[in-house]
């Protein structure tokens, strides 16, 4: 589980207020999305990646997180290259040019469009990734709460986070226990065991929720979880954030 709290805790962004980090990230994200070229998103991507390295996030963790968006980006790039646009750059014939079962034409304008989208993905993913690595979950939730995200949403998020680890462990133990008794030898058996695994998890969830409710009730719960008050924002941090966003905006305008 790659939550930020599992990595180096003393990094450069650790002391920055989560609300500031969130606001800056959102502002930059919006700029990336609304930018028409590729320069700004790529710049943001490079900057965010450098931040991650500065925070000493293991390269493996960065790659693992980028893998899936990159995969989608590649599919989109290829779709755009071959199937949209009009200016043919090159033609590939497979298997040979004398016996072409497949004829593919690469288009330069399609490629450009594809690169544009890919850069947008890179920029967006990198910014959010840096935010994720720099912000412990709890502070992120507090920031959301400060942004007036409704209480029920926040409460469910906190409960989900708390029990995520309990259930992950349950899931892995149940899975091991099934494997131990040869529950995954063959596709049919595998599918069946898989259903039993999810069913057991859901049942566990029901039983656990009863107990959790009891625990909450006996500590005074009456339907709404109380909320810790957040500190006022530090002016210095806010000013720094505004400067970063303005600088980003200036580059964006160019």
């Amino acid at each position: 589980m790659n939550f930020s709290e599992h990595f180096n805790k003393g990094h450069i962004l650790a002391k920055v207020d989560a609300r500031v980090k969130l606001l800056v990230a959102l502002a930059l994200l919006l700029m990336v999305l609304s930018y028409k070229g590729i320069f700004f998103p790529l710049l943001m991507s490079a900057g965010a990646l450098m931040l991650c390295i500065k925070m000493r996030i293991p390269l493996k963790a960065i790659l693992a997180r980028m893998a899936q968006p990159l995969f989608l980006a590649l599919v989109i790039l290829l779709l755009k290259l071959f199937f949209s646009g009009k200016d043919t750059m090159f033609v590939i014939k497979l298997p040979t040019s004398h016996f072409p079962l497949l004829t593919l034409a690469g288009h330069s304008d399609g490629l450009l469009e594809g690169i544009r989208i890919t850069s947008r993905i890179l920029g967006g993913v990198s910014i959010v990734m840096a935010l994720g690595f720099a912000t412990p979950f709890i502070e992120f939730v507090a920031a959301l709460s400060w942004l007036r995200v409704p209480r029920p949403f926040i409460e469910i998020m906190m409960l989900a986070y708390r029990y995520l680890f309990v259930f992950l462990e349950d899931a892995s133990t149940i899975y091991s226990a099934q494997k131990n008794r040869l529950g995954y030898a063959g596709i049919r058996k595998g599918l069946n065991s898989f259903g039993v695994l999810t069913g057991s998890l859901v049942l566990r969830g029901f039983e656990q929720s009863q107990k959790t409710a009891d625990a909450m009730i006996q500590r005074g719960y009456t339907g709404d979880m109380p909320q810790l008050k957040s500190q006022p924002l530090s002016v210095a941090e806010l000013a720094a954030a505004v400067i970063v966003v303005l600088a980003g905006g200036a580059v964006w305008m160019i």
Partner: protein
């Protein structure tokens, strides 16, 4: 303090888990519930915290029938610590979890913080406030549960096997913590447990449960006085007591009584040896 009169309870599936329980616990006592798996310990504790519906009989807390009390009134006085800490810790960080109770009680931020820090100090978890609950060790999570209730300032704690799953050292320290709370802060403690060996060292009195009934009650000495029928209720003597019991009855050593703790056992053995010497 607590007065349980003729309490019975049947789970929806028909299992009769409690069957005419009578129990008196006075203010400031340190009481243990012993019994086999499935004998009804957990059920009794839950009934005493008014977490079960449809309990027959009467449970009085400081003279008031709990069925007439609002949940809030009960939870201000009594806190129940569950067997599994994961059932009880529901907030993401230790601080938030411990603060949940005091916040619901309506204290201001400052008072909440004071209570939380105090409670954490009490259970020796100071400094871990910001830690995610799931990153705490098992023993630490057990302590955290207790802190969550301490911060509410309960005068009575009900605990369901607080030492289960702890290593021998952790077990001992947990008992010591409870003992301290009881003796120094005057908290009434009622706990279910399987740790026969630790019970006589710390507890004032004991109740033995068997199949939903209380079959015996009294001080540890009184309760462990009839070792013969311990096996019927799936219990046993503390190891020390068993040794001295065998020395007395099978090896004909001359003890006045069967001690339950190491300290007493030393005294008894030395005394017996002294007596042997004089005999010659």
């Amino acid at each position: 303090m607590y007065s349980v009169k003729n309490v019975s309870y049947r789970y929806p599936d028909g299992t009769r888990a409690l069957d005419g329980i009578n129990l008196e616990v006075r203010q400031g006592a340190f009481v243990g519930l012993l019994g086999a798996n499935g004998s009804g310990k957990t059920t009794l504790l839950r009934a005493m915290d008014k977490l079960l519906k449809g309990v027959e009989g009467q449970i009085r807390l400081s003279g008031v029938d709990i069925s007439a009390m609002s949940p809030k009134e009960i939870y201000k006085k009594v806190g129940l610590v569950f067997q599994n800490p994961d059932d009880q810790l529901f907030a993401p960080t230790l601080f938030e979890d411990v603060a949940f109770g005091p916040m619901n009680m309506g204290f201001n931020a400052k008072e909440v913080e004071r209570r939380v820090l105090n409670a954490l100090k009490e259970v020796e978890l100071s400094g871990l406030e910001k830690k995610s609950v799931h990153n705490l060790s098992f023993g630490q999570r057990k302590r955290a549960c207790i802190a969550g209730l301490l911060a509410m300032g309960h005068e009575t704690l009900l605990l369901d096997e607080p030492t289960a799953g702890l290593d021998p050292m952790g077990e001992y320290r947990m008992m010591k913590l409870l003992w301290k709370l009881n003796k120094e802060n005057g908290v009434t403690v009622i706990m279910a447990t399987h740790s026969v060996d630790l019970v006589p060292v710390f507890l004032d009195s004991l109740y033995i449960l068997s199949k939903g009934r209380i079959t015996r009650g009294g001080t540890p000495e009184e309760v462990f006085d009839a070792p013969e029928d311990m096996a019927n209720i799936k219990l046993r003597l503390p190891h020390i007591a068993e040794l001295l019991y065998k020395l007395k009855h099978e090896d004909k050593m001359n003890f006045d009584r069967i001690p339950l703790t190491i300290g007493e056992a030393r005294r008894e053995i030395l005394k017996a040896i002294q007596n042997e010497k004089f005999k010659n």
